[in-house]
């Protein structure tokens, strides 16, 4: 389909670059639904039992008569859906990164839309037929691929449109990923309410409606996205002629990037920052109630989680925009140093019984967790250049997959260990906080070691000239064929 080609998305003269962030947000707000998938967990445990789950208790699982009955799905079995999706986010962004970069943002966004909607439709069939493996394949595998491709699809395009403020531009899109859950969560609850009857739980129908809505929304994004014409630059912007200490003017080929120590140092920085954040994000509700028994109720804890997600989203825009002024390396230094101080303070807030100090600590921590995600594309652009930054970002997202395993494991395992050894619930998280602080010390050292990439990894001028000539030729061909790219 030629309308998906990169050459058909090259902007004509007079195109307003501020049209590109909404295009990116169309995709990120949709795939950000992943963070809200847990709203389906409870209803999906009652698809057969309707009013209550028919899943057997653990002591019943060996009984023959229980095994002969059709059982509802359990929460642990459903938990795998999200885990599979996040795993394939990392895998697909790494595998398809180069394809996304070379095929252009429209092809990538359109593919992500097809996969995302297709994943919902297949999951709806899985729910209707009560076949959990179909949901694993639908939402987990196909949806996970959509997450990976969709997440990286607008990154390099935004950086090319906003060379003067790359952090702000990518921060805006990645903020959308954090904000997607805000829309998906109440919308899903409302849709399920509409489709649920006394004899039926409306999860399958909700999946179908969400699939249709998201497909249309992402399609709009793919239609309005444009890449700048070769040589385009914002009015009044003078690109730096010479590389500065930590901002290169050269490009590194995607498959050369992981041969550099800088790639792995930034991989570790992201992994450690996300591990520290993700571990407490999932446990925030329980942790707040156990650290302040009787003072933070389950309702207040739910409010706390909501507040954290607002700071997670806001932090993505704030920190990435700030990094345009203070530099990426300094921004990550702030994450590591301030994070270290705050993690060390959290146990103290429990000791002195200050709920407000506890809440403030976690809100800042979680803003930096979001900021870690949104600042990293600009950090990669500074290190490896603009040309393959989206694909390199895709490779780096494997750090997220790794952190998704480490973070919750550390928090959950340590809590269980502490409780088993007689530590009071209110103090069961103290060691965890100190370990998270320790991880940030390692992150600080990694960040300190980041230096400019050795010039032997830079693409040769003739490689870049060939690619630019090819792009210019494609743009010219599109115009001569009477199909203006900016239409």
């Amino acid at each position: 389909m030629s309308f998906l080609d990169r050459s058909r998305t090259i902007a004509g003269p007079g195109f307003n670059r501020w049209m590109v962030p909404p295009a990116a947000l169309c995709v990120h707000l949709c795939i950000g639904q992943a963070y809200a998938f847990s709203v389906f967990n409870k209803p999906m445990t009652k698809l057969l039992g309707i009013s209550q789950s028919t899943a057997p208790a653990s002591w019943q699982t060996n009984l023959d008569w229980v095994q002969s009955l059709p059982n509802d799905w359990t929460i642990p079995a459903l938990g795998w859906i999200f885990s599979i999706a996040i795993f394939f986010l990392g895998v697909s962004s790494a595998v398809f990164g180069r394809w996304v970069e070379e095929g252009g943002p429209r092809r990538a966004m359109f593919t992500a839309a097809l996969c995302w909607a297709g994943g919902f439709f297949l999951s709806a069939i899985g729910v209707y037929a009560h076949q959990l493996w179909l949901v694993y394949v639908g939402y987990g595998f196909i949806g996970g691929i959509a997450l990976g491709i969709g997440y990286i699809s607008p990154v390099s395009t935004l950086i090319k449109w906003f060379p003067d403020r790359p952090g702000m531009a990518t921060g805006m899109a990645i903020m959308g990923f954090g904000g997607g859950a805000f829309i998906a969560s109440p919308l899903s609850v409302w849709l399920m309410h509409q489709f649920t009857t006394t004899t039926h739980v409306g999860v399958a129908e909700t999946f179908i409606v969400l699939g249709i809505i998201y497909f249309i929304w992402m399609l709009v994004g793919s239609m309005i996205v444009r890449v700048p014409a070769p040589g385009w630059k914002p009015e009044g912007y003078t690109p730096p002629v010479q590389a500065t200490k930590l901002i290169t003017t050269s490009d590194v080929f995607v498959y050369d990037s992981y041969k550099t120590p800088q790639f792995w140092l930034i991989w570790l920085i992201l992994c450690l920052n996300v591990t520290a954040g993700i571990g407490v994000l999932g446990q925030a509700s329980l942790m707040s109630q156990e650290m302040f028994p009787g003072r933070i109720t389950p309702v207040a804890a739910a409010g706390f989680v909501g507040l954290m997600s607002l700071f997670n989203m806001g932090g993505r825009f704030f920190w990435a925009s700030t990094s345009d002024y203070i530099g990426r390396k300094n921004t990550y230094f702030i994450f590591m140093v301030l994070g270290f101080v705050l993690y060390c303070l959290v146990p103290h807030t429990g000791t002195i019984g200050s709920v407000s100090a506890f809440v403030i600590c976690f809100l800042i921590i979680i803003s930096m967790y979001g900021g870690g995600f949104s600042t990293v594309p600009a950090y990669l652009k500074d290190m490896f250049g603009t040309r393959y930054v989206g694909a390199i970002h895709g490779l780096l997202l494997t750090a997220w997959s790794a952190a998704g395993i480490f973070g919750p494991v550390i928090v959950n395992y340590l809590r269980e260990y502490n409780l088993a050894h007689g530590v009071p619930k209110a103090q069961a998280y103290n060691n965890t906080m100190y370990i998270m602080a320790g991880l940030l010390v390692i992150g600080f050292i990694c960040n300190l070691m980041v230096k400019a990439v050795n010039s032997r990894f830079h693409m040769k001028p003739e490689d870049g000239a060939l690619a630019t000539a090819a792009e210019a030729g494609a743009a010219m061909a599109a115009r001569l064929s009477g199909k203006p790219a900016s239409a």
Binding site: G14, P22, F182
Partner: protein, 41 residues
């Protein structure tokens, strides 16, 4: 005249694009803020 009408069309497109993503996002943020306010009750 043509340039002026092109500019105003572009401005409308820009406004529509931002409204398309901004309105749902603001609605979601408000819903979340209402839930979050329970922390202070």
């Amino acid at each position: 005249m043509t340039t002026q009408s092109q500019e105003s069309t572009a401005a409308v497109k820009l406004l529509l694009a931002w409204a398309f993503v901004g309105i749902p996002l603001i609605w979601g943020v408000v819903q979340t803020a209402i839930n979050a306010s329970k922390l202070f009750h």
